[in-house]
Amino acid sequence: MTNKIWVFIDQFEGNALQPSWEGIGAALTLAEELGGGVTALVFGQDVENVAQEAFHYGANEVLLADDATLADYRSAPYTQQLTQLVEASAPDVILFPTTTRGRELAGMAAVDLETGVLVDVTDLEVKDGVITATRPIYAGKLLTKVQCSATPQIITLRGRVFAKPEPDESRSGTLTKVEPAMSEDAIVTDVVDYATSEGGVSLTDAAVIVSGGRGVSNNPALNPPADLDEEEQEIWKAQQGFELVGELAQVLGAAVGASRAAVDANYISYDHQVGQTGKIVSPDMYVACGISGAIQHLAGMRASKVIVAINKDPDAPIFKLARFGVVGNMHAILPPLTEALRQRLEG
């Protein structure tokens, strides 16, 4: 039996999000176990470059829907495109990255296709042709195995769990252009603008994250301007603290994270929050500075490979998960640590 394994490639303005390629990696493994080929789905406008990239990462075929109606991600035309293709070709498995678009599209297509969704999966097993996925629930406090008895099997993969294949520019495959599924008249929503955030490494893609907590403002050595009120003085101090966090992050090519306490105190914006009600991350290294390690914070970063904790309280729960701990003042440790790592990485 040859299976059709599809992978949705999530792209924004012609740039594929990295977890899409991890999807091709997982699809190639499934194709080996189940037998069959890997087809990448690329939807957008002027995105043939993404289709080519999908071949480089190992797709045998690309279904390309390139049209003005798909220039901006909108759930209705994207879902319609997907379900129409599925109805025409009956794939067995469709993998998505668990990105904002991937998660939404997977869920909505499952409604049309009367199937289920295995969401935010961290492991895939195949036995006698049956796929069993593993996924964290209760913020990773538990793991559940999950199966779906309908086809197609719709699966979203957690980022940074499945290996990304090495791209090879000499690879190519069959490029099939498909017609858009909806006309603009039939689409009721309009994307009127974007406010894209400036540079910086994205938390969920980051291989290394340096995070700050309430401790970032606790530096009695600083003298904030006297014309600020108490709260402003605290935020001013926190900004100096996050500067130290940011300098270490820069040397490591890392993203900057934060605890909820730091976000709630307006030290830094919410998009940096790690934890149960922030982002769930699993970098190779997570450096927690002035973070106590509350259960809701740990829920967001416990899967990090190596955790380094700097905290002045030797009893802080964060140390239980840490590979390396420093009991001390983060404001004193961070500058020489940044310098020491800079020398080693440059040397």
Binding site: T100, M108, E114, I137, Q147, V191, Y194, G325, P336, L337
Partner: protein
């Protein structure tokens, strides 16, 4: 304007969750409103106030598990609808979306329905989109702010990986709300008393004309993740400089950067 909000009750986020005899258990930790749903309720109440309108809260759960709904009422929602049926035990997310969609239709004439970003027990984060698809309404998920709401249209800012996407849509629509929307209010004393006395209908699948609900997903095994064996090394030294040098060597030796 008629606004609805869907809320779920979940175990307290600070609870130890374990598996006992294959069953998930959170000991005697309380059930609370799903934390993300507090933002959805806040959004619903603010928009209802600005537009002149009422807020209905809809919750699906086991009989008696009405903590989420009561919290929403205590925050200020006007009325509640509870969906409970033994046949709902263990249904999958698409089936759950069909049930909530049917409940929204039964409430009737809803212009705007709010959802939380994600339930902190199942961590699916798909319900808003799925309910929208069942209803055939636009899905405005991950909304961090509503910049305009009129009788017939809504404009929202959605949080996506790249920043914000501004989307304009006709009503009725489904909106899911992120934490950026703004801090949810605390229930008032009066609100809590009102919620405790509130009367609400309990709808079963029959009431929603959903007798043939099918689920295709199964969960053959739930386990506690293996304890990670972490050997913690506390790095010490005579000065921050010395500690930093030793720690830097140890970090390099892990070969993760």
């Amino acid at each position: 304007m008629k606004i609805a909000v869907c809320v779920k009750q979940v175990p307290d986020t600070a609870a130890q969750i374990v598996v006992e005899d294959g069953q998930v258990s959170w000991g005697d930790a309380p059930l609370i409103i799903n934390p993300w749903d507090e933002y959805a309720v806040e959004a619903a109440l603010q928009q209802a106030k600005a537009q002149g309108g009422s807020v209905s809260v809809i919750s699906m759960g086991k009989e008696g598990e009405t903590e989420g709904m009561k919290h929403a009422l205590a925050m200020g929602c006007n009325q509640a609808f509870f969906v409970a049926d033994p046949a709902l035990e263990g249904i999958d997310n698409v089936a759950a979306a069909r049930v909530l969609a049917a409940a929204i239709e039964k409430v009737g004439d809803v212009d705007l329905v709010f959802f939380g970003k994600q339930a902190v027990d199942s961590d699916s984060g798909m319900m808003a989109g799925q309910v929208a698809r069942v209803l055939g309404w636009p899905a405005l998920t991950l909304t961090s702010s509503i910049t305009e709401l009129g009788d017939e249209t809504i404009t929202v800012e959605r949080s996506i990986e790249e920043g914000l996407q501004v989307v304009e849509s006709p009503l009725p629509a489904v909106v899911s709300v992120t934490k950026d929307y703004g801090e949810p209010r605390y229930p008032s004393f009066m609100g809590i008393r009102k919620a405790a006395r509130a009367k609400y209908p309990i709808w079963g699948l029959g009431d929603l004309q959903l007798d043939k609900l099918t689920s295709v997903m199964s969960w053959p095994e739930i386990v506690q993740p293996p304890e990670r064996e972490i050997l913690t090394e506390i790095v010490e030294g005579g000065s921050p400089q010395e500690i930093a040098e030793t720690l830097a060597d140890k970090i390099m030796a892990e070969k993760v950067i």
